[in-house]
Symmetry: C2
Subunit: 137 residues, 2 copies
């Protein structure tokens, strides 16, 4: 243990992808610290993110690389990347254009728990998802 704990290896060699080849990335506004979303990255999306400085994830539902904002325009400029002690979780500090959430809120975490076990909305609606993604059929 010491002040240089765990910084001898390169970043990419330090990341521990899980048995699906994925690592969770917590996405945080780089100025306010507000957590906007969590998404999953594989090695390819992480390398793309490092290269372009635009957040790129692995979509588990669509099973493909997902450049955040490619359909909505709500891209994320990446200012900083942090890694945790176990190497199995990342933080991306970003500036978010528009809202991060596909429902239209600034953050995906737009609901908070009340003492009685119900929830309330605690975030701002930034856009109308039907306008951005088109009407669901």
């Amino acid at each position: 243990m010491g002040e240089n704990e765990g910084i001898d290896k390169s970043f990419l060699d330090t990341v521990k992808f899980d048995d699906r080849g994925l690592v969770p990335a917590i996405v945080q506004d780089h100025e306010t610290g507000k957590v906007l979303m969590m998404a999953w990255m594989n090695r390819e999306s992480l390398e793309m993110t490092l290269e372009r400085r635009k957040a790129c994830y692995w979509s588990r539902s669509r099973n493909k690389l997902w450049l955040k904002g490619e359909s909505s325009g709500n891209m994320q400029d990446v200012h900083d990347i942090l890694i945790d002690c176990d190497g199995d979780t990342l933080i991306l500090k970003v500036s978010q254009i528009g809202g991060a959430c596909h429902v239209g809120y600034h953050s995906c975490f737009y609901r908070r728990v009340l003492e009685n076990g119900s929830m309330e909305i605690c975030d701002t609606l930034m856009f109308d998802p039907e306008e951005v993604y088109g009407k669901k059929s």
Copy 2:
């Protein structure tokens, strides 16, 4: 879609546990917004957390309930719980006693990536883990 999107159900019925029965919880300082760690919860640890307002997780390595701080004393008082759009990720807003990280830092995310692909320490050492957890044999 609308302002009351997704708040009709109770919180516990909204949480989607994965195929291992787990949901990731992002743990954030409730005053500064600093992300301290990410941990996993099963339904039992989430119910314990709601009841006691002390963060309780499921330890995947030890395969048991884990009241954060039970050995280190570094407990987390839970002020707020948020849930994301998909219901499969939580945020716990807490006050952290001491440091969150078993390595001794305030946050588990104590390393940031540099442009050349190496890392640097970006956090404060709060305690000596050998003093808190005992010497590793």
